[in-house]
Symmetry: C2
Subunit: 444 residues, 2 copies
């Protein structure tokens, strides 16, 4: 069986490895335009900040490592054509153009950074962060910069702006929407995070898009905002999200949904022997039971398990997603899962919400930190979302809530579940239990 995988990100490389585990004999070829594979893009901000000492540290495997398990990785190679009737893929690299056959084709083409339409976006010093090479360029440019503007206050934007602040730059985070992290946090929770960023000397501009960038000698120098204000900027990072790359999928004849490639629960596209996963496909939202986009590496990794089983003739269904996420900026950890209350409302679900402030340890134990928790339920008390911010112990609580939501638990049911306790690590009544008890009272 000849498997050709287009794309060397989390989805593509995990698929290659998972197929190899299930089938010793498959001929597996990965084609990627990038220079590096099997690195952790989520780690780029932490290399920039200096927490991780080098970009080389976040590369987990080289093409040579894959060669050892008989997986061919063609780097710096661009797939230019797919013919799903002849079952061929054509690619170009330094050696020229070549067309190869496939039995099974996997599209793991990911997404392209969205470049907002604005004057000056082509100036030197304006960056996107797609891969390690971009990371290295930003690192280099930052060395001679005094000020930076990051536009787009999603996870990557916040992590990057914090990293540049830690390098000593004067930094501004600019977001078109009236709050940061609009996809995962409600505005009251986002405000807590914004307060922390401001306390850390990050200038936060909300509700104002950048209208144009102005340069000197071809290098960016100033950013102008919708309200007419202007900020010095020796560098500008566009963290305004990614758009699924669909060109090859369209060429292959795959059905495309509202945003991305349509796949079924086996990760099959509408075209026989063509599969897809990761940032270029639509997933099903567990709560809305409607299609969504999940831009998480963890989703791609989990999809790759199902895809590898499907291709090797084994049963597996990929479950709908909740988009559980966590991040850490400076001292603060924040995470979320499920729907925000505003997103619930947009989808005609009336949210019943409660926000509590608890502690990460027994109140008399040294260094107990405040923990803000927001719980979102539907009108029957079923938990549909949770957001947490604290200096410690956020990630695993998000995992507990993800499992609770996956299992369809109500706030009443979760308030009766056991939680482990010891003074140095929790409160006698866990913050999550306090939160679900409080929201439960709204149903009396």
């Amino acid at each position: 069986m000849k498997v050709v995988i287009v794309g060397g990100g989390a989805g593509g490389m995990s698929t290659a490895s998972n197929i190899r585990r299930l089938d010793k004999d498959a001929e597996i070829t990965v084609i990627t335009r990038d220079e590096n594979v099997a690195y952790s893009p989520c780690a780029i901000p932490y290399v920039l900040s200096g927490k991780i000492s080098s970009f080389d540290d976040i590369i987990m495997k080289t093409p040579e490592d894959y060669k050892e398990v008989n997986i061919d990785v063609l780097i710096k190679s661009e797939v230019t054509a797919v013919d799903s009737s002849k079952k061929t893929v054509t690619y170009e690299n330094a050696d020229g153009e070549k067309t190869i056959d496939y039995d099974k084709l996997v599209l793991a083409t990911g997404g392209n950074p969205f470049v907002p339409p604005m004057e000056g976006v082509d100036l030197e010093g304006v960056f996107q962060i797609r891969n390690i090479e971009d990371g290295r360029k930003v690192q280099q440019w930052a060395k001679t910069s005094k000020s930076a503007v990051v536009t787009g206050a999603g996870l990557i934007g916040i992590e990057i702006v914090f990293a540049l602040k830690e390098l000593g730059l004067n930094v501004t985070l600019s977001e078109m929407m009236p709050q940061i992290v609009p996809r995962s946090l409600d505005s009251d929770m986002a405000d807590i995070l914004t307060g922390y960023l401001k306390m850390e000397n990050i200038h936060v501009m909300l509700g104002e898009p950048i209208t144009k960038l102005e340069g000197e000698d071809g290098k960016v120098k100033k950013a102008y905002f919708g309200d007419g204000s202007c900020i010095d900027a020796d560098m500008v990072i566009l963290a305004t999200g990614v758009r699924p790359e669909l060109e090859l999928a369209k060429m292959a004849g795959c059905d495309i949904g509202r945003w991305a490639i349509l796949v079924n629960e086996k990760m099959e596209t509408s075209v026989e022997d063509v599969y897809a996963l990761g940032d270029c496909v639509e997933s099903q939202d567990l709560i809305l039971q409607a299609n969504t986009i999940s831009h998480l590496g963890t989703t791609a990794v989990r999809e790759s398990k199902t895809l590898a089983r499907t291709i090797t003739g084994k049963k597996s269904n990929f479950n709908p997603v909740l988009n559980a996420m966590v991040s850490k900026v400076g001292k603060l950890e924040f995470g979320a899962v499920g729907l925000t209350s505003s997103f619930a409302q947009q989808n005609n679900i009336k949210p019943i919400v409660e926000k509590v402030e608890a502690l990460t340890r027994a109140r008399y134990y040294p260094n107990a930190k405040p923990m803000d928790i927001k719980i979102i339920c539907d009108c029957n008390g079923r938990i549909i979302g949770c957001q947490i911010i604290a200096e410690e112990r956020v990630a695993e609580r998000i995992d507990t809530m993800t499992l609770a939501i996956t299992q369809g638990l109500s706030c009443f049911e979760l308030s009766n579940v056991e939680f482990a306790y010891a003074p140095p690590v929790s409160m006698v009544t866990d913050p999550l239990v306090l939160a679900v008890e409080e929201v439960s009272k709204k149903f009396n």
Copy 2:
């Protein structure tokens, strides 16, 4: 409605508070032989070690605080008789003897420390740790001591021996069984913890009970073991467990089970208008569906919610328990939930187990620590137990596993659940997922 509660521990005081929340008018009287109520006994070791500066810090509320919400707390008062036909309780204190009526009686009498039968147990310098007063005595005695032996390597024993070590004493932990924490950990996991304690200069004696204590001028000086060896001991702590206090329950005519008072899921005893909770009752084990004893403060607190609802005429059922626990000694956090594999075997369940070593953060992120996880499944793959040891992020993972076990999940099902990821706080495939994936392979 006159409610009389016997016992001022976690069970008794939480019941009083929870009844007050549900019924503004109930006359509530708590009778306790102790001087303090509403303190956290789990925190005593951390006061001893100096982590928490004073015993006063761990007292959350005084009898006067309860008076403010119209709850009468009679301290230093011993209940000497219960008459469940006349519905009266008789108690004695400095003011003499008094008999009062009740409409509802709650027995929250807890347990008494078990004193192993050995010569020299009455010497000065031999302590049990029941309450704050005991804690203060131990703290005082330790100031003039050079060496200490703690017998009984359950949670309290380990936390106390570590605290005395931190005070600079030469310490020995002695356990009759061939491993430490036999109730919660399998021997392979216990060995990891034992290794850490030894590295921290704690002498650990396993499989050898203390046979006698020897003194000088009435003060303990030496401990002798079954193998004839002898260790200097200026103080000895008996941490050999507690036995439920059942005297009043028997006087009231309550049915007693194998170990403790029998209650139904509403926390009712066999005698009308007599209720019980905490260390003096039997709970149902979720997996074995048989009675067990749960000596956890968290169990008592959860039982108090059901009991308060029952007494005030509201519906609530107390669920079977899994005994989820966590502790922290020095740098190391350890936790467990459900059955150990050895306990499963004793109960005719053939355990399918796997133990993995993962990391607490992405492997390239600074200060990623090893995390040891053991998963125990039954022969159908249903998860029935989990044990975790690491320097961070154990407690909440135990909570996630508690929820998974409560929901009856198999290792196959849990391996498909979403987990949140960011390099500073987890691995891209969560340690729990790695563990359940590994154990799943044993079913192929």
